[in-house]
């Protein structure tokens, strides 16, 4: 199963849920965790992996061979991102704008363009017991996280369950991380901010055709704003975690929910198993059809 943990609003508890599910499940089986929040990876504070490997991540960008170049300007014409400018007798490249699409190289009539790699970040990996943690970190000053997330996802072993800690929001980093998931857990909080951003996430997942359900964090008795929404939209609310200052204090130290209260272990394990069996049934039905 590929299970992603996402949220429109930042700070609702994605990493808390992802790490606690992974740690609970890892007592019984091996699994992978991908920390796709490459602008601010935090899963390693809770899943205390020994990082053995570090892979530098590169994005291609064009290098012009000025011996072959005739300054025809075709490369700048085809570039959708203004990453090349052709002057009378020189070509300027703007690597930070380059998306690595390869158009300039493909369409250069003189074959004067080579692609070289520029560093955008790093992917660390290692084990914490049965968990294989992949943690991606975008270099400071780099604008684009989707290429790094894409590279991380290519490292997934499809034979094993994987949990993805997804960046906040609903734009391209979130979409890149969630793409291809069997199920997404949307983590929210019972406030107008939480509900506003939850609706945006739900909209996005429906358009992406990824099944989802909701985890309510910082729940307070009497705060029904999310419950009402879930009932109205017929979206399963699969878990609630209460608002509790002790949870915030434990989190601040890198302690998990299951450290604070071991009874959460069975709740997270049960959630994971229920999702997995639901997906297996859905896949079996699909094959039958």
């Amino acid at each position: 199963m590929i299970l992603s943990i996402a949220s429109g609003k930042g700070g609702t508890g994605k990493t808390t849920v992802a790490a606690n599910i992974a740690l609970s499940v890892s007592a019984n089986q091996k699994l992978q965790v991908l920390d796709c929040d490459v602008e601010g990876p935090n899963a390693h504070f809770f899943i205390k992996a020994e990082f053995e490997k570090e892979k530098i991540s590169y994005l291609p960008y064009p290098e012009i061979n000025e011996n072959k170049c005739t300054y025809c300007g075709r490369c700048a014409e085809v570039c959708a991102y203004n990453a090349l400018a052709v002057l009378k007798e020189s070509v300027l490249t703007f690597p930070e704008l380059c998306h690595g699409c390869g158009a300039c190289k493909l369409f250069c009539p003189e074959n004067a363009i080579k692609e070289i790699g520029r560093r955008i970040g790093v992917i660390k990996s290692g084990y914490a017991g049965n968990i294989f943690l992949l943690s991606g970190k975008l270099d400071v000053g780099q604008a684009m996280s989707p290429p790094l997330i894409r590279q991380m996802k290519k490292m997934i072993d499809k034979e094993q369950d994987v949990i993805l800690d997804v960046p906040p929001g609903t734009s391209c980093p979130m979409v890149e991380a969630v793409k291809g998931s069997d199920h997404t857990l949307l983590v929210t909080e019972p406030t107008p901010f939480g509900l506003n951003d939850l609706k945006l996430s739900v909209d996005t997942l429906k358009q992406m055709d990824v099944p989802f359900s909701i985890v309510l964090n910082r729940a307070r008795p009497g705060d029904e704003i999310i419950h009402k929404y879930c009932r109205k939209e017929n979206i399963p609310l699969v878990m609630e975690i209460p608002l509790d200052r002790k949870i915030a204090e434990a989190y601040s130290k890198g302690e998990t929910l299951i450290d604070l209260d071991p009874s959460y272990k069975i709740k997270f394990l049960d959630l994971f198993e229920r999702l997995k069996s639901r997906i297996e049934i859905a896949q079996a039905n699909f094959i039958e059809r």
Partner: protein
Amino acid sequence: MKQIVIISGKGGTGKTILTSAFASLAKNKALADCDVDAANLYLMVHPEIKETHSFTGGEKAIYDQEKCTYCGVCESLCRFDAIHSSEEGNISIDPFSCEGCRVCALSCPSQAIKMKPAVCGEWYVSQTKYGPFVHARLYPGEENSGKLVSVVREKAKKIAESNSLDWVLIDGPPGIGCPVIASLSGVNLAVAVTEPSLSAVHDMERVIETSKHFKVKTACIINKYDINKQNTQGIINWCHSNNVEFLGKISYSEEAIKAVTQGIPIPELPGSKLSNEIKKIWYNLINIDN
């Protein structure tokens, strides 16, 4: 006129709550919400929308099945995994994966793919009781958030200049990527709001590294400081060692939830304890150059 952006690195540290509090305390200002893919400031400042504009950022590839000869060149050249052919040979282009690079359209031998400008969001100019407010909505799953942020920034700046306002207060996005970089461009001060958790401190250091990378003067506020007083002191020490102005700290309090639930900025909540802490911070902020 001074432009101030509130950033954080980690989401959920209190950027929007603080921006709305400053909006309530500052005189003569314009507001901007640059968290374009999950905009929340409007829930605190209650705008009356005066202008709506559509935002076109980039292009998307559109497929014409009638012209297609199923040669498969497009799929083989797409680097973003956006083009897939089914067993029967039908091509589909995933608009969420398409980055508008044009490689498929340019290489298709039968012109079966065309590039169309993508309307991927909207932006608004509104009036609020705090002053003019520029905000936006990026449609779900879209890219070009940095471009839309730049549009919001540019408009807010123009409004402030033409109305001789003293401040542009900008609610920034989380992270360190292109929307944050666009929010930082040309501001007088970046204020990083953090909380004393390992995760938030780690991300605060990265976002401050980002603002320094772009040569922006940076200050810091600690929210929910009493969750972990040891880490709080660590952050204060780090600020002193790294040329980051420490503006002050705010207690953990359910008043923040009350403010958000009622849509009332904290300084306007009757009997608010946090209000005094925030007023001190605002005072430090406006006197930062002294």
